[in-house]
């Protein structure tokens, strides 16, 4: 290993040290780590946070962001926000789902609006805009991303989305130019973000009496979005425990068998 040692040191140094990034104003800040109930091998979603987070999504985010992959029947499914079937049905019925054409082949009602029907459990959350062009036109050319997988689709996961949501409170450093129609957010790449600050204290009124500070709202909606991105986390953690226990038992037995068979052979 004499020759290999310095090489090993160099490799390890590289892996641990990482590369230097040019420190300039527009490089995003590293995300802040927050505490999440779903972290760790035994993590589960906090039901209260999921329900409050759903409220934040419904009353704030859903004005611009779709949640295409999530269906209403997920809301009362196992491992989810824990709404009852009746609550989930009522929530679904509050959404208008495109319904045309009708028996006469019409796709618009007498006022020229597209035909709709109330949502049912089988439906997915309808998008706020009918198409990408409409979404861009309403948002200064920027496309609000679908939020179904947003927690998985960003490096840093829940910590990134959380940092971004509470990062609007930070002021740009002296001399930093915020582009026209954009907002300063130090956690966003380039630090100029097209999304206006979505959360303020009291954006929503929580049914369970929790005080709706920006930090609380962000925490709740990130928990909800983490569930939306990974709805089987609880089932997975539970099964993982069982599988691990089984494999440890099996390994133990296989080890004893192996030792017994090899006794005296090496």
């Amino acid at each position: 290993m004499r020759i290999a040692l310095p090489f090993l040191a160099l490799t390890l140094g590289l892996l641990l040290g990482g590369t230097a990034t040019a420190a300039d104003d527009s490089a995003p800040l590293p995300v802040e780590h927050a505490q999440w109930s779903f972290e760790g091998p035994l993590g589960t979603y906090d039901r209260g946070a999921l329900q409050r987070g759903f409220q934040v999504y419904k009353e704030v985010c859903s004005a611009c962001h779709s949640l295409n992959l999530v269906a209403f029947h997920d809301l009362d499914g196992p491992g989810g926000p824990g709404f009852t079937e009746a609550q989930a049905k009522a929530l679904a019925a509050g959404y208008k789902i495109p319904a045309g054409p009708n028996d006469k082949g019409e796709i618009f009602d007498t006022h020229g609006n597209p035909l709709t029907r109330p949502g049912v459990l089988a439906d997915h959350f309808p998008p706020p805009f009918p198409n990408e062009e409409a979404a861009r036109a309403s948002n200064g050319g920027a496309l609000p991303p679908d939020l179904s997988l947003i927690v998985k689709a960003r490096a840093g996961g829940p910590d990134y989305v959380n940092s971004l949501l509470i990062g609007f409170s930070q002021k740009p450093p002296h001399g930093f130019t915020v582009q026209d129609g954009k907002f300063y957010n130090p956690y966003f790449a380039g630090r100029n973000i097209a999304m206006p600050p979505p959360l303020v204290d009291g954006s929503v009124t929580y049914a369970d009496g929790t005080k709706s500070s920006v930090v609380q709202e962000a925490h709740d909606v990130v928990t909800f979005l983490a569930w939306a991105a990974d709805p089987n986390l609880e089932a997975r953690h539970q099964m993982g425990l069982e599988v691990m226990a089984f494999l440890v038992l099996l390994s133990g037995l296989l080890y004893l068998s192996y030792r017994k068979i090899w006794k005296g052979q090496h």
Binding site: L15, L247, I261
Partner: protein, 425 residues
């Protein structure tokens, strides 16, 4: 195999079967009684583990194909919406398949490095090695096609970048490369046609792998296993029957490997994944950093270390073709690095070199390393790493075998393992 079979059919049915399809005889001779060196260590259990990995990938893959839709419009939703949410246990089967690919490559790398360290590619086992390299290349192709199927951003752009390697041929014959990429894509860019043919090939290739695995094992049964000492088997005292000795040992280490596999599947299913692949493919927006899966990173680093497109592609190709040739590049008469002090050093530097290249491949192309005030562009590390990769095979392997003083080889496997030959049988 033939000629000295010890199989004796016990029942009327097995006697009947043995005359018509001697499959039980084959199993008996190749698995049950196959004489195997008694000193194989933990690194020799990866053959069995790899067979397990191939089985897992085929079974989970066949199931996923029942729910997957190979269409540019629907593929992403069929994976992220259908399989991951709606299909019963679809999430489990999908993360088994995705992490199974990484486990497969982890195991194959250990298997290959073991082969290199103990000189298992050397005469008379050249064909085992060559078939193994062929399996490895088929695995890379299969993994590449498979990674495209979820139709995320990294799927799409990975497919674009890798297929575009062929456009380097434009520098040899004008328009040839472009013609080939267009043919590969079935379109003017990666699209619906590309996705469908990749799906077809992704489903096909694993069966080709299984066939070559059959040849690989057949070739193994002609000379029998190499072993950590690298010396030949001299008699029955040097071996034990494969069953129950190595079935028991392989099963135990397979269970340990499954614990590692399960840890990723249940507690870190996205560890090997890339966040960008949770975004549906968008032909108009390229992610800021295109990174292949971890098991291809060293080759990616070598490709990027060369500023000239065609030469970069040739380096990449050369790094793979070289692997086929190492049985003839290595000049040493001694197989195992245990008895080759100098080659052992070179081997470990090579192993670290691969890790280093992997690291460089994972960083952005223009990254700069800050070493206490000294700025070192990573591309220079990539070049040094690439140079060593080729030097290891083309310079050190032929040279070291001629100049090094090897240590004395033990008299026999039995003597080395048991103290004195055959006494304790």
């Amino acid at each position: 195999m033939a000629g000295n079979s010890t199989y004796v059919p016990a029942t009327g049915f097995t006697r009947w079967l043995d005359k018509r399809l001697p499959i039980l005889r084959l199993t008996h001779d190749t698995v049950s009684t196959f004489p195997t060196p008694r000193n194989l260590n933990i690194w020799y259990t990866f053959g069995g583990i790899l067979t397990f990995c191939l089985g897992v990938q085929i079974v989970t893959g066949v199931v996923l194909a029942m729910h997957y839709v190979a269409s540019a419009d629907l593929a992403f939703n069929s994976v992220e919406g259908g399989i991951m949410r709606e299909v019963n246990y679809g999430w489990l089967i999908r993360i088994l398949h995705a992490n199974g690919a990484s486990m497969f490559f982890l195991a194959v790398y250990i298997h290959m490095f073991r082969g290199v360290y103990y000189g298992s590619y050397k005469e008379p086992r050249e064909m085992i090695w060559i078939l193994g390299v062929l399996i490895y290349l088929l695995m890379m192709a299969t993994a590449f096609f498979g990674y495209v199927l979820p139709w995320g951003q990294m799927s799409f752009w990975g497919a674009t970048v890798i297929t575009s390697l062929f456009s380097a041929l434009d520098q040899v014959i004008p328009h040839l490369g472009t013609a080939i990429t267009t043919w590969l894509w079935g379109d003017f860019a990666v699209g619906d046609a590309t996705l469908n043919r990749f799906f077809s090939l992704h489903y096909l290739l694993p069966f080709a792998i299984a066939a070559v695995v059959g040849l690989h094992i057949w070739a193994l049964h002609i000379p029998g296993n190499n072993n950590p000492l690298g010396i030949d088997v001299k008699g029955p005292q040097d071996t034990v029957p494969f069953h129950p000795y190595y079935t028991a040992k392989d099963a135990f280490y397979l269970a340990l490997f499954m614990i590692l596999f399960a840890a990723f599947v249940f507690y870190a299913p996205d560890f090997f994944g890339n966040p960008d692949n949770s975004i549906q493919a968008n032909p108009l927006v390229t992610p800021t950093d295109i990174v292949p899966e971890w098991y291809l990173l060293p080759y990616y680093a070598m490709l990027r270390s060369v500023p000239q497109k065609l030469i970069g592609v040739l380096v990449l190709l050369g790094s793979l073709v070289t692997l086929f040739l190492i049985p003839w590049l290595d000049s040493s008469k001694v197989r195992s690095c245990r008895f080759r002090p100098l080659m052992k050093q070179c081997f470990w530097v090579f192993a670290l070199d691969c890790v280093l290249l992997g690291y460089v491949g994972s960083q952005s192309a223009d990254a700069v390393l800050n070493l206490g005030g000294m700025q070192l562009p990573l591309v220079w590390l990539a070049r040094a790493g690439t140079a060593y990769y080729f030097a290891y095979f083309w310079v050190l392997m032929p040279l070291v075998g001629r100049i090094e003083r090897t240590k004395a080889l033990p008299e026999s496997i039995a003597k080395s393992v048991l103290g004195t030959a055959g006494e304790r049988i």
